[in-house]
């Protein structure tokens, strides 16, 4: 077994990495400050797990912050299968912490304390939208049916199969349609919203909510967070690696197209790892053809660097 200190920098900066230009992990740059003035991404907390619900938010955090996460809900198009899941996106605690630190996201209040008046208004608005939608759909349905009939008529004309009688019948059908068609209410199409509508983007409220986010509390979460921030800053994409016996799976590019290169294990500098654990994790890594990375932040302050050691199973020939 072969131990190197420190690991070589495998990562090549992708366009989707942490912002334009070389950004040191955690340091605020002009790009950061500019982006923090944009509307923030909403994080919803369910039982302490951070979730993202809006498709726009999910796309933005992937493109601008390299946050990949995992989709854990049913897919709208085909809800009864497990191959591809849909919203919400579950993100790591470290990802949520980083987004909040950088002012890119805000925690959403679960139960908006609405007063009676605004609630009544909301119900009215909903009803009127429904009515409006129904009326519009009636019009569209009628036009659709007319178009179908027209197509049939044209087809018959082109085929020269119809005579005067059938043509007349069709024209009558068309006119009766115009007069008497109604779309039954049950045939109306209705949207079942995925994300919740209406979160106030007022900055004071958002800031207040960010304050009570559970920031890393114990040493383990602190270690994990610093390793995450460092690896993310180098341009890697990170996802959870519980199935691989590690903390993070490290991808050189977007996980949609590329395989992971490393399994990262976060340890504090003075933590003792029994040899049999090292063997087990190295064996696991070699079985799945990934290099194991032992990551430890240096104790020097909050902005200290992280030290990496890689494990690769090698033979003695």
């Amino acid at each position: 077994m072969d131990c190197e200190r420190p690991a070589e920098d495998h990562g090549t900066r992708q366009n989707g990495g942490a912002g334009e230009g070389g950004e040191a992990a955690g340091a605020e740059s002009e790009g950061d400050r500019e982006r923090s003035r944009e509307p923030r991404v909403n994080i919803s907390l369910v039982g302490g797990t951070p979730l993202l619900w809006r498709a726009g938010d999910i796309r933005r955090v992937r493109e601008e912050d390299g946050v990949v996460g995992a989709l854990v809900g049913s897919l709208a198009r085909q809800p009864r299968q497990n191959v591809r899941l849909g919203r919400p996106l579950e993100i790591l605690q470290e990802e949520a912490s980083l987004l909040l630190q950088r002012g890119r996201a805000a925690v959403q209040h679960t139960h908006n304390q609405e007063d009676e008046e605004s609630h009544v208004k909301a119900v009215e608005a909903y009803q009127s939208r429904l009515e409006h939608s129904y009326e519009e759909q009636c019009v569209l349905a009628l036009e659709d049916k007319k178009a179908v009939l027209q197509r049939v008529m044209n087809a018959k004309q082109n085929d020269h199969t119809c005579d005067e009688g059938t043509e007349q019948a069709m024209r009558e059908r068309l006119s009766s349609l115009q007069k008497g068609f109604t779309l039954p209410r049950s045939a109306m199409a209705v949207q079942l919203c995925t994300a919740r509508a209406g979160f106030g983007h007022c900055p004071e409220e958002a800031a207040f909510l960010a304050a009570d986010w559970p920031m890393p509390r114990d040493e383990r979460s602190e270690t994990r967070f610093r390793v995450y921030r460092d690896l993310r800053g180098r341009g890697f994409y990170l996802t959870a690696a519980g199935k691989f016996g590690g903390d993070y799976l490290v991808y050189p590019g977007d996980p949609l197209r590329f395989h992971a290169h490393f399994i990262a294990l976060c340890l504090s500098m003075d933590e003792q790892l029994p040899l049999c654990d090292v063997l087990a994790v190295a064996r696991l890594g070699s079985n799945v053809k990934k290099t194991v990375l032992l990551c430890s932040p240096r104790d020097s302050g909050v902005e200290g660097e992280v030290v990496y050691s890689s494990l690769q199973w090698s033979g003695m020939v």
């Binding site: 039982g47 209705v190 079942l192 919203c193 590329f258």
Partner: protein, 493 residues
């Protein structure tokens, strides 16, 4: 103009809130229902154009799927209402096909458990209202999932199994079967009650023990001083009779105020004076055989010979003897310093204490092997099968998982949450008689502890004959583990 602007603004707001326009809703019926297949992944990013276009294409497909909203025909939707006080969803229109395997009747209404309702919302079968507004999936997650109903991880497992086709319902430990569906009593009783805990075995030590250690030691000393002047009055040659054991314990208790456990009346106990000049004439009477351990015969004791050996001057120890004394003091302890020994009020208790200590010391030595004569474990010709022979020579008794499991107290962190029935039973599934489930599910995560033997015993006991599966949730990935009891074969042919 103003209304047009208002409309435009409303449209923009709708965009950001992901609301579809009526035209989009209408044309959703002709949306594709196919999911594009994901291609092979590549190993190393090279920055080539081909890779970039591939990535863009994959991402675009991905965003299309992710952003798509659920659109359903109003007639296909079942309406329901969320009742937070009861943590239930009540149907307002008749249930659909899902009623065969989900839901229950309560007070004449069709109801769904929160996880069932949320799953049906995600499938686009049910529209749940709260205070006259429809709940979004997000609000469903936020309102329905809680430690009192079902947590997010547990719901993820529920959804995963339902999507695979299994029938999943809640486990009720009290009846050792699924939650009763048909109920006619008040809503209050429906809420999941906490299990009543099995009363712990009372292993506390009696309170009088500590009192005994403190008091008697002091009283004996004080009484000794008192007794001597009493004794000096008697000039009788024969030693006074020892009759303190006959003193009525009730008398002593009331007069001296000593704790009830003490049977002695120390005013009646006379301690022989062996130090004064009269001592040579004394001889001690035989003690009552009841007070002696075992079958000892002790006769009268003539003190004369002993008194000549008694040296009343202070001993002057040589240096070596002093050293030995120091070592003894440092490394050896007098048996009377032992608190537990002082607690013993008679020989029987002392022997019991010694036996207990011996047992604890020699825990690795089973009594049936060490306490008796050494004999061969087995004789040739005695056993007719391997199994018998192995039983004869066995030192460790094999146990089974459910042994003494009923005595274990209830667990807080681990609980069986679901019953899971096979998918092929769906057609014949009856909610009133579901039969035995295929397995029972317990949900945990990689952050938490691995279930130990205690947990497994407790859960297996709760589950009766049905195996328990552990579903470990890690960021959307679910792994299933189960522990199987295994018996080493003992018969060989």
């Amino acid at each position: 103009m103003a209304t047009k602007q208002a409309h435009a603004e409303a449209a923009r707001a709708e965009r950001s809130e992901e609301l579809l326009s009526p035209s989009e809703l209408f044309h959703a019926r002709s949306r594709s229902h196919k999911i594009p297949v994901r291609g092979q992944k590549e190993f190393l990013p090279t920055g080539s154009e081909q890779q970039k276009t591939h990535l863009q294409k994959s991402l675009q497909e991905h965003w299309t799927l992710v952003a798509e909203e659920r659109v359903e025909r109003l007639g296909n939707l079942v309406n329901a209402e969320w009742i937070p006080e009861e943590k239930l969803v009540k149907l307002q229109s008749p249930a659909g096909k899902f009623w065969q395997t989900m839901g229950f009747s309560h007070c004449g209404k069709q109801c769904l458990l929160p996880e069932e309702a949320l799953y049906l919302m995600e499938c686009g079968n049910v529209q749940v209202f709260y205070q006259d507004l429809p709940l979004s999936i997000q609000e469903g997650y936020e309102r329905f999932l809680s430690p009192e109903t079902v947590t997010l991880h547990q719901y993820q497992v529920f959804g995963h199994l339902k999507r695979l086709g299994y029938v999943v319902n809640r486990f009720d430990p009290r009846q050792n079967k699924q939650l009763k569906r048909k109920r006619s009593h008040s809503p209050g009783s429906r809420s999941c009650e906490k299990q009543t805990s099995i009363p712990q075995e009372d292993t506390a030590v009696g309170p009088c023990e500590d009192v005994l250690t403190g008091e008697p030691h002091q009283t004996i000393q004080s009484k000794k001083e008192q007794d001597e002047p009493m004794d000096s009055g008697s000039h009788v040659d024969r030693a006074p009779e020892r009759n303190w054991w006959t003193a009525a314990s009730s008398q002593s208790r009331s007069m001296t105020g000593l704790p009830a456990a003490l049977p002695w009346d120390f005013r009646l106990i006379s301690f022989p004076d062996l130090g004064s000049s009269r001592a040579a004439r004394t001889c001690l009477a035989a003690p009552d055989p009841e007070l002696l351990p075992g079958a000892l015969q002790v006769g009268e004791c003539k003190m004369a010979s002993w008194l000549t050996k008694l040296n009343l001057k202070e001993e002057k120890l040589s240096r070596r003897e002093r050293e030995r004394q120091r070592e003894r003091d440092r490394y050896k302890r007098s048996v009377n310093d032992d608190r537990e020994v002082r607690r013993c009020t008679n020989w029987a208790e002392y022997l019991e204490l010694m036996k207990k200590r011996r047992r604890q010391r020699c825990k690795e030595r089973p009594a049936h092997l060490w306490e008796k004569d050494v004999t061969p474990l087995s004789q040739p010709g005695l056993c007719t099968s391997h199994r018998e022979l192995l039983e004869e020579v066995s030192i460790i008794q094999s146990s089974h998982l459910l042994e003494e499991a009923s005595k274990l107290p209830q667990l807080d962190q681990w609980r069986i949450i679901f019953n899971v029935y096979q998918p092929d039973t769906v057609a014949d599934f009856k909610k009133s008689h579901p039969g035995n489930p295929y397995t029972r599910m317990c949900v945990c995560s990689f952050d938490g502890p691995v279930p130990d033997l205690r947990v497994m015993k407790q859960l297996s006991f709760q589950s009766a004959d049905i195996p328990v599966t552990f579903a470990v949730v890690d960021h959307g990935d679910i792994s299933f583990y189960c522990f199987k009891e295994f018996k080493l074969p003992s018969d060989f042919y």
